[in-house]
């Protein structure tokens, strides 16, 4: 049986991209959409970074210096929302758009029109969210977690912020559906699941996490909205509801969200380390099972974020031990990365430097995570700067370094030009030094009792806060070098070969550099 179709459905062969703004607005091409995501993510990274600099400038000295406390609270809340939903997640979706079709030997994503829509929702949602800063009462200021009853005191910004979060969720779910549909339906002949590159595997599992938990966040904020405007009392004790229930629902979303932001990073690192070690990845199948185990465990650890609300001893023990259990599959991964490097023919190009820094610094974030999992200790650490140091180690030299490593690794494939290696290494060293200057002292002020989310603090915390602020400016300005490097590479440079890196393996390296507008018109056969 066959069907007659118009050539508008299949017009790949005879044209390249459209010209001007229409190319970007109407594009259904996975590479164009990947570029849009990455460009958007970089923009949001600088917007969120500016907010972080406002926070760190205020904290350079005790007392109130440059912003009033309410604006400070808006900055902490918006910094998190922008960095999580605007910078880290879109960067991974951008990388998935660029790479998943090329890695599985597909011509494009399975649902190209939906792909366009998934992206273009984002700038609209973030414009809405950022404009709330100019509304009466300012933007959301109750933290990115939006705990009631505090969040219900938000001014005119509240419904706009809730609407923006719904849109972000819809965009993420559509992106996840597209990735799963692509992996399940468009793999090249011979590419079984256990032959897929690790980046594809980690994204497949991440996409399932997104589908499972983004609706939970949407449900939670819908209930906040109805509590505020439609007289329901889901989270209000006055009507029989329970504000702690919100925290349970939020963290049922929030903890898997942490893994949504780190599993694709594991995938990137698992591509880069074998290339520059010139060895196959050690323990491929254990990497896949470890990723799946981490994803499963992420659903049963949520209450470790809220030990201090009070819960039965059995609950405390369950969430403590289940959280500690995550160290096992994560340890398997770290072991495998080190075993891959062991006796490898190592070279230290910029992507490899960022990947090694990832392994070391992410592990520091993992260790402080295990410390926080210990219930009695967590009651001491809760809501201190120790927590801020912990999750920033996981997310900045963790997720962000992996993204940067991935960009350096695949940039020659995308642009057809090599980036400036000398400047890349300078970017690496500046970033690595300053990220530690920025976040390491926060462990000490946290252990000494400095609470998070306050614009003022006791005098004994001055020195570490000043060091941290110097680190923040250093790290922030170092990223301008990254921007310059990317622009320079897009505009020209030494021509890249198809293989780009001597030890690189995988279907994407069989395509010419830059990769053609439509990759794999005819699917390759995988042996």
């Amino acid at each position: 049986m066959s069907a007659v179709i118009h050539d508008t459905d299949h017009h790949h062969d005879d044209h390249g991209p459209a010209y001007g703004w229409k190319r970007w607005l109407f594009t259904t091409n996975h590479k164009d959409i990947g570029t849009l995501y990455l460009f958007f993510s970089l923009t949001m990274f600088f917007v969120g970074g500016l907010m972080a600099l406002v926070i760190r400038t205020e904290l350079f000295q005790p007392g109130l210096q440059i912003v009033d406390p309410h604006f400070f609270n808006q900055m902490t809340s918006m910094h998190a929302l922008v960095m999580i939903f605007g910078a880290v997640m879109p960067a991974f979706v951008g990388l998935a758009n660029w790479l998943v079709p090329m890695m599985v030997g597909a011509p494009d994503m399975a649902l190209p029109r939906m792909n366009n829509w998934s992206f273009w929702i984002l700038p609209f949602a973030f414009t809405l969210l950022l404009l709330t800063l100019f509304l009466p009462g300012g933007g959301p200021a109750a933290g990115w977690t939006l705990y009631p009853p505090l969040s219900l005191q938000t001014g005119a910004a509240f419904p706009f912020a809730i609407f923006a979060i719904h849109l972000l969720g819809i965009s993420s779910v559509m992106g996840a559906i597209n990735i799963i549909a692509t992996i399940f339906n468009l793999r090249a002949p011979g590419m079984t699941l256990m032959k897929m590159p690790l980046f594809v595997w980690t994204w497949l599992i991440t996409a399932y996490l997104l589908i499972a938990v983004m609706p939970v966040l949407a449900g939670a904020v819908t209930m906040l909205l109805t509590d505020k405007f439609f007289g329901t009392t889901f989270f209000s004790a006055t009507g029989g509801g329970d504000p702690v229930m919100y925290q349970h629902i939020f963290w049922f979303f929030g903890h898997p969200e942490v893994y949504i932001m780190i599993l694709p990073a594991f995938g990137i690192i698992s591509q880069i380390i074998p290339t520059f070690s010139r060895k196959p990845l050690f323990g491929y199948s254990s990497m896949v099972y470890a990723t799946a185990s981490i994803a499963f465990l992420s659903f049963i650890v949520w209450a470790h974020h809220m030990f201090t609300v009070g819960m039965p001893l059995a609950g405390q023990l369950f969430f403590m031990f289940s959280t500690m259990l995550i160290a096992v599959p994560t340890g398997v991964k770290v072991f495998n990365w080190i075993a891959t490097m062991w006796r490898g023919s190592l070279t230290f190009e910029t992507p490899m430097l960022f990947a090694i820094a990832f392994v070391i610094l992410f592990t520091i974030g993992g260790f402080s995570g295990v410390m926080l999992a210990i219930t009695p200790a967590d009651i001491q650490y809760h809501d201190t700067y120790f927590v801020v140091a912990h999750f920033h180690y996981v997310l900045v030299p963790g997720a962000v370094f992996a993204i940067i490593a991935g960009v350096y690794y695949w940039l020659p494939k995308w642009t057809g030009h090599m980036y400036d290696e000398k400047l890349g290494k300078a970017h690496f060293w500046l970033s690595t030094i300053f990220v530690n200057v920025l976040f390491f002292p926060q462990h000490f002020v946290g252990l000494a009792g400095m609470p998070r989310r306050i614009p003022d603090y006791s005098l004994q915390f001055i020195e570490f806060n000043q060091i941290s602020t110097i680190g923040a400016f250093g790290f922030g300005f170092s990223q301008l070098l990254f921007l310059y490097l990317v622009i320079k590479c897009v505009r020209g440079g030494e021509k890249a070969t198809s293989q780009v890196w001597e030890g690189a393996e995988g279907l994407e390296w069989t395509l010419p550099s830059p990769a053609p507008y439509h990759s794999f018109e005819t699917q390759p056969e995988v042996k």
């Binding site: 066959s2 179709i5 399975a110 559906i177 597209n178 609706p215 819908t222």
Partner: protein, 42 residues
């Protein structure tokens, strides 16, 4: 200009639509279920 979609292409297209529909329903189901469960627990 028109072209005939092969049987293999049609099967793949059906697979994509089936996968996407199931996943979208799953997401919608989670959204509704969490609101209903929260309402019932109060």
């Amino acid at each position: 200009m028109t072209r005939t979609r092969t049987t293999e292409e049609q099967a793949r297209r059906r697979g994509i639509i089936r996968t996407a529909t199931l996943l979208a329903l799953l997401a919608l189901g989670f959204y509704i279920a969490f609101i209903l469960v929260t309402a019932a627990s109060n």
